[in-house]
């Protein structure tokens, strides 16, 4: 008989505790005396559990996760590649791990040198003139770039009239959300037949009120924009800036430099392209690279080198300001630089080539079992549609859940929005031919099961730690923490005064 899975708060109790702390070796006074006038709290209702049981608890939890070190993880647009172990060790070196963000330039020359070397490498890879590594994630990079674009327009006296940002309907959701966050208006344009930019629709949407155009390259269907130079030229002729969402950069490293495509700025996701672990949802890092005309607006401080010493330059009158409390996600920057230096020029290019080859191979393998809406060579990912299975009463969600029974993670589903019942598949360079074949065989078998035994799919998964979870119930009951808040604590939020 197995012990039922329990939360930490349901374990242990009074008399149980974790590691001990040293006795107080300085003269101690009562808290009430040290903190006169302060209201002190009563009990902190935290768990009381011994170290061995805490360890077992988290080991038990860990065993319920799928992860890239266990198996295939073809989440489209997420670039689930191998995370080299040496990178974690380097980031944990005491000199980096203990470095304090306010200790001053002199005390942190080693960390600043790492940032400098990473800046250089990322500029070489993207072809841009300047870069900030402060943004903590891709979405924050988007916002940072949009603020710089606004500062650029304001500097030219066009800040007031340029208020709209054009985003294709195939874009990641963060694009329009970031547009809204900075106070711009998102204008969505439909994609053309082959899911590329519709030049005519773009031409209509562009105007004297356009601040920027945001494009993902390759796009979210894994396709390269063949007329990208026309797109960026058209936008520039209207006075707009062109932003590249770099989420899919794993297709381009060493093959194409975004600056050469006519973009003014872009963000990179170090946790995708540059192999830093995803950590169950973060931390990431979203550096923003820009062309020379946007350099004055970079978030302060900016790294500057004088006679071999690195300085944090805060004297940046045109800067948009800080976007992070300190210097961005430095621990992630160390790992990304280690990845780049570990691979070197040929290795980096081999990564993109292999990612593209793996995606094309899988796409060919699966195009007869599932619908392939855009039958052209893809870059690092491709999108299938599961709409053909609807006649059996099977949805893409069911295919995704059934895949979990084969020990692989499901692809990204229902995205991009422009493909019905979408399955977005990104194998990355990590996967071997064996793994690709195993995945293809599982997908083929599921397509057969859909016809022969659709209920098997609707009830899937069957072999995972939990069976299908009731998301509707979670949203209705909204139980977001253990225990119950004490009675009387649930005070309503104040309503704004009526005017």
């Amino acid at each position: 008989m197995k012990l039922e899975r329990r939360l930490l708060i349901e374990q242990g109790g009074p008399g149980h505790r974790g590691p001990r702390l040293p006795a107080c070796d300085v003269p101690a006074l009562p808290l009430a005396e040290l903190l006169p006038g302060a209201r002190l709290r009563g009990t902190l209702a935290f768990p009381q559990v011994s170290e061995p049981e805490v360890v077992r608890h988290f080991i038990e939890l860990s065993a319920m996760n799928h992860h890239i070190d266990r198996g295939f993880y073809p989440l489209g647009s997420c670039t689930m590649k191998h995370n080299p172990k040496i990178n974690d060790e380097l980031a944990a070196l005491p000199g980096f791990a203990l470095d304090h963000p306010l200790a001053g330039e002199q005390a942190s020359q080693g960390s600043l040198r790492v940032i400098r070397e990473l800046e250089r490498a990322l500029l070489a890879i993207t072809g841009f003139a300047a870069i900030t590594t402060q943004p903590a994630a891709g979405a924050q990079g988007e916002m940072t770039a949009l603020l710089m674009i606004r500062a650029h327009h304001r500097g030219r006296g066009e800040g007031e009239r340029r208020t709209r940002v054009i985003v294709p309907d195939s874009a990641h959701g963060t694009n329009p959300a970031s547009v809204n966050l900075v106070g711009y208006e998102a204008v969505t344009i439909p994609s053309a037949e082959q899911a590329t930019v519709d030049l005519e629709a773009l031409g209509h949407a562009l105007g004297p009120d356009t601040a920027a155009v945001m494009l993902t390259v390759p796009n979210t269907l894994g396709l390269f924009e063949p007329r990208i130079l026309e797109v960026t030229k058209l936008a520039h002729e209207a006075g707009a800036q062109v932003y590249m969402d770099g989420a899919n950069m794993n297709a381009l490293v060493g093959l194409v430099r975004p600056a050469d495509l006519g973009f003014d700025c872009m963000h990179l996701n170090l946790h995708k392209t540059f192999s830093t672990p995803h950590g169950g949802g973060g931390p990431g890092a979203g550096p923003v690279a820009v062309a020379a005309h946007l350099e004055p607006f970079l978030p302060a401080p900016v790294l500057r080198e004088v006679d071999g010493t690195l300085h944090l330059d805060c004297d940046r009158p045109q800067s948009i300001g800080r976007v992070h409390g300190y210097h961005g996600n430095f621990g992630i920057l160390v790992r990304a630089l280690a990845y780049i230096l570990g691979l070197g020029p040929a290795g980096l290019t081999a990564v993109s080539r292999t990612a593209i080859l793996n995606a094309n191979y899988l796409m060919r393998r699966l195009k007869d079992s599932y619908e392939l809406p855009h039958d052209a060579a893809c870059m690092h990912e491709f999108v299938l549609s599961g709409r053909g299975l609807r006649r059996y009463g099977v949805r893409t969600l069911d295919v995704a859940k059934r895949l979990l029974d084969f020990g692989v993670h499901a692809p990204t589903v229902y995205f991009p929005l422009i493909v019905e019942e979408a399955l977005m598949i990104e194998p990355t360079e990590t996967e071997t031919l064996d793994r690709l074949e195993h995945f293809a065989a599982a997908m083929e078998r599921i397509a057969v099961e859909a016809a022969e035994n659709p209920q098997l799919l609707r009830d899937a998964p069957h072999s995972t730690p939990s069976s299908r979870l009731d998301e509707g119930r979670a949203a209705r009951e909204l139980k977001l923490r253990w225990g119950r808040p004490a009675a009387g604590r649930e005070t309503p939020a104040p309503e704004p005064a009526r005017r």
Partner: protein, 452 residues
């Protein structure tokens, strides 16, 4: 090339099966003139041995690992129990993605639920989310929520907040929408904040404790904000919340406390690492949950009626709502939130309390020693938790330079924030500092001050 999954032979096989001759045939959509012909101008490849040598040399250029730290200002040198590292670095946690398929992500989701529970408890709030980038951006997200909730444009922020938090607020909201109210005593000036409240103010933001380590008495702030129809937001240090009445609790007179509690959670099991990755936390009243930014885990059941956890209220989020989302946030700080969960779970009720009390006792001991040295004085009179501002007889930079030879980082030079503070050190003392280390620190102050 061992990093990629294919051998040259396999590559040829695959190209043949795809039906192309060369790899370049797959790039037909990329105009030839846009393709890179030259190798990337980056260094490498380096073997692991060479990487270790190179990064080791860079890491040793930092002073941090050879120094005894009295540094604070939001990032602290707390002890991290060995089990935190051992558990959090496991592949099962570190190399998983966002839990989009909950049936194979119960480990991550359960840990997020436990994180939310403990943060909500610390904050005295009904709900907390799965974490945000850092304390500064969590404060911004709270201000944005308040603006949406009230339909008002401006925010009032106490100058006793971290100066960088004020900067990030200005970046996101626009300087004209952030009114910073002076804090001459090092804590919020409640009367001045009350006078500045106007019908277009969405929220009042204060720090608990203040940037200078001082304890706020926020009841008056909460009441004033609520009377004006604004939300009250507290940016908190989690270690202080272990001993202080949390802002989310009711005021002493039974009226409502803060509406949103945010903060920087690095102190909970995460290394300083130059201030990033850090750990923003965000807790609020249940009534505001649908406007909350970021991810939320909720309890539910599976088909067999067994308890499980899923991400919920995703209709708030960018991947569903696009431009109408409550925030553009996509990631959380998953691995750091996990470390905090293990840390809080391991130290538990007693351990957390002991850490906080040791910090307070040692900080006050250090302050008493410093105040007894001629020329040194506490900058502010109010009660403080594990940090205090110290006025020095010489520039803080000189004290720091003098301390280097002794292997001590004696505090944060506040002159980096304002020129008029250039003789001021911000000193934090954690449970890691021994009485002997504090004595050495005081001796350095004495020596450096004597050269005035």
């Amino acid at each position: 090339m061992s990093f990629v999954g294919l051998s040259p032979e396999e590559e040829r096989t695959m190209l043949a099966r795809i039906g192309v001759e060369r790899f370049e045939d797959l790039l037909e959509a990329v105009p030839a003139e846009l393709r890179q012909r030259q190798p990337l101008p980056v260094a490498g490849p380096l073997s692991e041995i060479e990487q270790r040598r190179q990064f080791g040399a860079w890491s040793r250029m930092n002073h941090a690992d050879r120094a005894v730290s009295f540094m604070g200002g939001g990032i602290y040198d707390h002890y991290i129990p060995a089990a935190v590292n051992a558990l959090a670095m496991r592949s099962e946690f570190a190399t998983a993605y966002t839990p989009y398929q909950p049936e194979v992500a119960q480990g991550t989701l359960t840990a997020i639920f436990e994180f939310q529970s403990m943060i909500a408890e610390l904050a005295g709030m009904e709900v907390a989310n799965a974490s945000l980038y850092d304390g500064a951006t969590a404060t911004v997200e709270a201000a944005l929520l308040a603006r949406h909730h009230t339909g008002r444009a401006r925010v009032l922020a106490s100058a006793s907040l971290h100066p960088h938090t004020l900067e990030v607020l200005r970046t996101y909201l626009g300087a004209e929408r952030v009114a910073v109210i002076a804090a001459p005593e090092g804590v919020s000036d409640a009367a001045a904040l009350e006078r500045a409240l106007a019908p277009d103010v969405a929220c009042v933001i204060y720090a608990q404790p203040s940037f200078f380590g001082l304890v706020e008495r926020p009841d008056a702030l909460h009441r004033a904000a609520h009377a004006a129809g604004a939300l009250a937001i507290a940016a908190c240090d989690p270690i202080a919340l272990v001993v202080l009445e949390p802002p989310g609790a009711q005021n002493a007179d039974g009226s409502a406390g803060a509406d949103i509690v945010v903060g920087e959670g690095q102190s909970l099991g995460n290394a300083p690492t130059l201030g990033g990755p850090a750990l923003g936390f965000f807790a609020c009243r249940q009534a505001l949950v649908r406007r909350m930014p970021g991810r939320l885990a909720a309890e539910t059941v599976d088909r067999h009626g067994r308890r499980g956890f899923v991400l919920t209220l995703q209709t708030r989020e960018q991947h569903i709502r696009r431009e109408k989302a409550t925030s553009n946030i996509c990631t959380n700080q998953g691995l750091l939130a996990l470390r905090a969960t293990i840390h809080m779970g391991l130290l538990g009720r007693e351990g957390m309390r002991e850490v906080a009390e040791l910090c307070i006792q040692k900080t006050h001991h250090a302050a008493r020693l410093a105040a007894a040295i001629p020329g040194y004085a506490l900058a502010y009179p109010g009660p403080f938790v594990r940090e205090f501002a110290l006025d020095c007889p010489v520039e803080a930079a000189r004290v720091i330079a003098a301390a280097r030879a002794d292997g001590i980082l004696p505090g944060v030079d506040l002159g980096q924030f304002r020129p008029e503070w250039k003789r001021r050190l911000l000193v934090a003392v954690t449970e890691q500092r021994s009485a002997a280390e504090i004595e050495r620190w005081a001796a350095v102050l004495k020596r450096a001050g004597g050269k005035a």
